[in-house]
């Protein structure tokens, strides 16, 4: 009953989406406010029905109704409750349902909070949202229905893939989807602007918070996924340049570029055409990511060929939306009026450079991700493009970007003074040089690039700090004035500084971890101890333990430093009998400052010893603190007064204020 209700709610949502994608546009043509307002109620109702459908699937999973294929294939009655819930999106059908739920959520938010939007713009935006939604409802209903029943219901389910039975699954996919799908809003706004043939600074002001929100979620989602891979896979790696990871990195790069070009558009009314293109690209890359992950083309080109319905369907959606939007762009973009002149050396110029490098870096990732697929389709040769490729292409493009980051905020709009900016960055430069010298003198081994890269990271951080210091007049004016200025400084300035510093912090973490990571691999038996980076790890013993739906072998390590016992670590190896004896490695982590000790277990030998892999990862936590700081910067920016109450008025009313900005 619940399954059928969920299915029915989804069909109703499709019907609503179809109404929402046509009537408002007709209304905008006829200038009929009543028809345009249909968009609002349709979007809210659609959200209601999709939410009901999603709630139905969650209920089925929670109650372990194995008469539903999706529940049978991915759940087990003994599975802990939290994984029964998260298992809903741990599979293809459920995750697509989550995808459309989030799409409907964003549509509903625009409908609910878009009261200050011009009526026709809101109607167009919601209609474009509904096009996307309709396509994906059809995809789910035709090829991936999560509510299918089994004729003869089995007693027990097949359980969720053990690797996914982790808290990471609860957070990572929803976050990532909030980011992916969030870019649909800027896409819809861009298409609406192209249809209306009108775009101005107010448009940028509306789009910016939505893009920023999507970007925050995507940043956190990627970081979260990386940390999940780090502790769950047992290899201590945090980024593999895997196509699935690249699929999330590409929209992030395009989204970061979009965020910066929106600033130019909002403040200076320039780069309009480019901003529209970036909005289209960011969401197109999200769709491409969905295609890569969901069509099965990565798992096997053959799987794609033997069960092509899903893949071909998504490919079709991809072609229609990307092709259609680019065609519309080619047709209408030239009609948009150009604004704001600026010299190459200026804040705008710096942001253009940022956009150029980010999109080029994104293009290299795209090349590395799609080239093996293209080559296999064309010649049948199978190749793998791994980390070395991306290190050689992505890395060199990011270095000039990072060097330029501190200069950007110090340049004036329209015409900047590069020499002046450089003078104000002298302190940051000195800090970077000192850091390089210290690192070079203190460390042994590792690449000669490491001190340089750390210096670059320090330069970016110190640059962000000196930008703030400059703005609040630190040490130049009396402390009371400084404090007052700090309080008066727009939150978006704080946001910029935090986000930029986050990039530097992440860079330092990445460099330290890859350069000075130490590793110990060996067979150990009870009583043996291993020495790594000054720490002494003694294997005290092994024991067996029964979990809810698995058995595990737990090893107990005593960790001591200079003879003093610090703590104990208990890595384990879990065996899931419900999944045909599939096993997972549960690594044990011990955090020391921002560094970590990492133990994972291998297979036991007949003589009672067990294979053990121990890492000492210096500064590794900075890799994820960086993105968290970036997201925090984004949130600060989002809370800026200007974006909340701002004055999103159409261009005619804005004109008078522009000079003041």
């Amino acid at each position: 009953m619940i399954a059928e209700a969920g299915h029915y709610a989804l069909v109703l949502a499709l019907a609503l989406a179809l109404i929402q994608s046509t009537l408002p546009i007709l209304g905008a043509r006829l200038r009929d406010p009543a028809l345009m307002n249909v968009a609002r109620s349709a979007a809210l109702a659609q959200l209601l029905f999709v939410a009901a459908s999603f709630a139905a699937l969650v209920t089925l999973h929670v109650t372990s109704d194995f008469s539903v294929v999706n529940v049978f294939e991915n759940s087990h009655s003994l599975k802990p409750m939290i994984y029964k819930v998260t298992g809903v999106w741990g599979n293809h059908e459920g995750s697509m349902l989550l995808w459309v739920s989030i799409l409907a959520l964003f549509g509903g938010l625009v409908a609910a909070f878009g009261n200050n939007l011009p009526l026709s713009l809101r109607a167009h935006v919601l209609a474009v949202q509904a096009w996307i939604a309709s396509a994906f409802y059809l995809f789910i209903l035709i090829t991936s229905n999560p509510f299918l029943r089994i004729a003869n219901p089995p007693i027990e389910g097949r359980d969720l893939n053990p690797v996914l039975q982790d808290i990471g699954l609860a957070v990572h996919p929803p976050m990532l989807y909030l980011g992916y799908v969030g870019f649909s809003i800027s896409f819809s706004f861009a298409i609406a602007a192209l249809i209306e043939g009108r775009i101005d600074a107010a448009w940028a002001r509306w789009v910016r918070p939505w893009t920023l929100m999507a970007w925050i979620f995507l940043t956190l989602g990627i970081a979260m996924g990386s940390y999940w891979a780090y502790y769950e896979l047992g290899w201590g790696g945090w980024w593999f340049w895997d196509p699935v990871e690249n699929a999330s990195l590409m929209p992030w790069l395009a989204g970061t570029a979009l965020l910066h070009s929106l600033v130019v558009m909002e403040k200076r009314n320039a780069l309009k055409v480019w901003t529209i293109l970036l909005s289209i690209l960011a969401f197109s890359l999200s769709l491409l990511g969905t295609f890569l992950v969901r069509s099965g083309v990565l798992t096997s080109v053959h799987a794609f060929a033997t069960d092509p319905r899903r893949g071909v369907f998504i490919l079709l959606i991809l072609c229609i939306f990307i092709g259609g939007s680019l065609a519309l762009y080619a047709w209408r973009a030239s009609g948009l009026k150009q604004g704001g002149l600026f010299a190459p050396i200026s804040r705008e110029g710096a942001l253009v450079l940022n956009n150029l490098l980010l999109t080029t870096a994104c293009a290299t990732v795209l090349t590395g991700t799609l080239y093996p697929l293209a080559l296999e389709v064309l010649t049948g040769d199978k190749i793998s493009v791994g980390a070395p490729f991306f290190n050689l292409t992505f890395g060199p493009l990011f270095v000039p970007l990072l060097v330029a980051v501190p200069f950007g905020p110090l340049l004036a709009w329209k015409r900047g003074d590069l020499l002046g900016a450089a003078q104000r960055l002298i302190a940051a430069g000195v800090a970077a040089l000192v850091a390089m010298a210290v690192v070079w003198a203190w460390t042994t081994g590792g690449s000669a690039f490491a001190p340089l890269a750390i210096g670059l990271g320090i330069f970016v951080i110190a640059g962000a700090v000196s930008d703030l210091a400059e703005r609040i007049g630190l040490f130049r004016v009396p402390p009371a004035t400084t404090l007052r200025r700090a309080r008066g400084l727009p939150r978006s300035n704080w946001g910029t500084a935090f986000a930029h510093a986050g990039v530097g912090i992440a860079l330092i973490g990445i460099v330290c971890e890859t350069t000075w990571n130490s590793e110990y691999i060996g067979m150990m038996r009870a009583g043996d101890s291993a020495k790594i980076a000054g720490y002494d790890l003694e294997l005290e013993g092994l024991r067996e333990r029964q979990g809810p739906n698995y058995r595990e072998r737990v090893a107990q390590f005593a960790v001591s430093l200079d003879g003093e016992r610090l703590s104990q670590m208990t890595p384990s190896k879990r065996n899931f009998t419900t999944r045909g004896g599939m096993s997972t490695t549960e690594a044990a982590l011990l955090t020391r400052g921002v560094s970590q000790l990492y133990i994972s277990l291998g297979d036991p030998a007949p003589d009672g010893s067990i294979a053990v892999r121990i890492y000492y990862k210096p500064m590794v936590l900075l890799i994820w603190f960086g993105p968290i700081l970036m997201a925090l910067g984004g949130m600060l920016s989002l809370s800026d007064r200007r974006l909340r109450v701002g004055a999103p008025k159409p261009a005619r009313a804005m004109r008078g204020f522009q000079a003041a900005e």
Binding site: V69, F72, E73, L148, I150, A151, N152, P154, R158, N161, L233, G234, W235, D242, L298, T299, S300, V301, H302, L341, F342, A343, P344, V352, L356, L357, T360, A361, A363, T364, T367, G368, Y371, D381, K382, I383, S384, V385, G386, P388, F389, L392, T393, P396, L397, I521, G522, M523, G580, G581, M582, S583, T584, T585, S600, G602, D603, A605, A611, R613
Partner: protein
């Protein structure tokens, strides 16, 4: 600067960055791309020792030998040929005899494949993509590969339900 000059500066700068990126990509393509082979292809192509490639196939049943200090050796076959592989380190969770495997490394002078990485990436049916494709191409694919007995039956139910 006139408007035209500004625009030219921008376009010139963009083209320069793109040219650098293209050069980087081409350079990286030449050096850092690894081809995939199966034992039969290794025998046919005469890959020189020391050249890195990815080897894929099935781990031959009964061929896995644990040596001292985490050294392991096993044989990879694709139905047509067999290649001995040595590796030092922990094997991934999903490594099993009779299942698919992908290893990265190079041949040594005596024709043994010295792997420095054994990949843990499989789909849930325990069959790496390249291996499944290669086996299918050579006609050695059986549908029950990688499916433990208890999985084969539900798959049938599922087939009926769809």
């Amino acid at each position: 600067m006139t408007r035209k000059q500004r625009r030219l500066t921008m376009i010139g700068g963009s083209l320069a960055v793109l040219a650098v990126a293209a050069a980087l990509v081409l350079n990286a393509m030449r050096d850092s791309i690894v081809f995939f082979s199966t034992p039969v292809m290794v025998a046919e192509k005469h890959i020189p020792p020391g050249r890195r490639f990815r080897l894929g196939g099935l781990v031959e049943k009964g061929s896995l030998v644990h040596g001292d200090n985490l050294a392991v050796s096993f044989k990879v076959s694709d139905g047509g040929a067999t290649l001995p592989v040595t590796y030092t380190g922990l094997l991934p969770d999903l490594f099993r005899e009779g299942q698919g495997v992908v290893a990265e490394g190079a041949l040594d002078a005596s024709g043994v494949f010295k792997a420095d990485t054994v990949l843990a990436k499989h789909d849930e049916t325990y069959m790496p993509k390249e291996v499944a494709d290669a086996l299918k191409k050579q006609g050695h694919w059986k549908d029950d590969y990688g499916k433990p007995a208890d999985r084969a039956k539900p798959a049938a139910i599922q087939g009926a339900a769809r």
